[in-house]
Symmetry: C2
Subunit: 285 residues, 2 copies
């Protein structure tokens, strides 16, 4: 595994005290949220709230997933200035997204909860490879991911996304927003020159339209979640021939799109059902 | 109770078929996501993804929570056009948020997951009333809310927020984004002329900085969640003297801010611990 969560990193959590239902004072480790302002060349693009690990991957992945960094752009520098909480991504191409930034305001759901707009651009052109997905991989991945030490297990209130290949988790990112976690993975793929067609995305978050669109635009043909899904998320997955798996817990899952690409090779008798006590909850705890 | 979820409403869910882990085809009721474009007078402000109930409350609450609709604005009309998925809010005052819309782009975390920027504006001026909070209310509210028929129990993948007063839930809103649910409550409060200082906000979502800020700006002095919290969410709650309760499940909860305003009058011996099977998960299932 190339990148694992590092729940012990002091920068990512803070001890917060509270009083419990019995009146006892408790110290709890809680995740941090910090602003990170992302620039593309001279232009300020966005300020994101993040736990603060892998700012360079977050910045590059955000810009790539917003379509501001093009597939053939040459990145000349990625500069993180910790004291001013800023990342500057520099490209050989001269960029100007003044107009796009204006448009985005008008079409994205920002504070209303979910995002829309430009993301639908390009979804018609997506042509995902018809990669097979083995159920034995799904169970092997879920077991490794759910038992791995993480900020989720340590502090909760966080989303996780894991880029996988076959039965191996490769890169496990966590963040306060589920989009941050996926964007950090996208940034890693760009900067490490990784292919997408042989990968699987595992996420703790719900399979809404925007999550399906983002994964499809990244070129990843399979998306798996412990959580539920929306009708539109399923519809888009079917449209782009993505293999979509929801509500994956213990032995159970439901395949909502791409059943013909599933290879059901797992021996269910050898897959433990999830013990209620140690179970991750849907999305966040 | 004034507004309850209506999980039976055909417009809010759709039957989606999938294949489960045993290879059996299953029909599942899944929540819809629809775009809703909000106008303030002649200006297009945002397109939000929503389940689609209470579009008028969502539009008014969104505009109020973004600071575009002022407390003393006179609303002359709220027009929902279902066929073009649009709400127009009209005010006596002439409005123009071209500049604000530009600025928001630069400072909000849209697709990165959580929102920031303008929301911090005004938080220093917040002066919440020092309303007491009884633990007997908390348990009574949780019991009523968790056992009430809802889209969450029917279809999952949804957030809920409930405006309460004492031990009574008043308005229970659900939506795909947790901000939508809160914004619909804000819209209801504006259009029904409701006071905030005697209310309690209960939410299924995490207590992040933006959720604490939004509730504080609405003037509501107590915020309760089943889910976890971030360090900054706790910090802001303490700054504005909000009573903040997290991880409320069965008998358990933790008070992170406002302990001096708590009245611990509940008889814990009479509060059932949450049965694992019927328990709501954190946030979403």
């Amino acid at each position: 595994m190339l990148i694992k969560p590092d729940p012990g990193l002091p920068r990512l959590t803070r001890a917060v005290s509270g009083v419990d239902h019995l009146g006892n004072t408790q110290e709890i480790r809680v995740v941090e949220e910090r602003p990170l302002t992302i620039y593309l060349n001279a232009q300020e693009i966005v300020t994101a709230m993040t736990i603060g690990d892998y700012p360079e991957y977050l910045a590059v992945g955000y810009l790539r997933n917003q379509g501001m960094l093009l597939p053939d752009d040459v990145i000349t520098a990625v500069e993180f200035e910790e004291d001013v909480e800023t990342v500057v991504v520099r490209t050989k191409r001269k960029t100007d997204y003044e107009e796009k930034l204006k448009k985005k305001t008008r079409t994205s759901g920002c504070a209303v909860g979910t995002v829309f707009g430009d993301m639908m651009d390009g979804i018609d052109a997506v042509n995902l490879p018809q990669t097979k997905l083995r159920t034995s991989w799904l169970y092997a991945l879920a077991k490794q991911i759910n038992t791995m030490p993480s900020l989720y297990l340590e502090a909760g209130a966080i989303h996780g996304s894991v880029l996988c290949q076959g039965d191996k988790p490769l890169v496990y990112m966590e963040d306060v927003g589920r989009h941050n976690a996926v964007d950090k993975i996208a940034g890693w793929m760009v900067l490490e020159g990784q292919s997408a067609g042989d990968k699987i995305m595992y996420t703790t978050g719900r399979l809404t339209s925007e999550m399906v669109i983002k994964t499809a635009l990244m070129g990843i043909p399979a998306l798996v979640s412990r959580s539920g899904f929306t009708a539109w998320g399923v519809e888009i997955a079917r449209q782009v021939n993505m293999t979509l798996i929801g509500r994956m817990r213990g032995q159970r899952f439901i395949c909502l799109s791409g059943e013909s690409r599933m290879i059901r090779d797992a021996d269910l008798g050898r897959v433990a059902d999830e013990p209620a006590k140690s179970a991750r909850k849907g999305g966040t705890k």
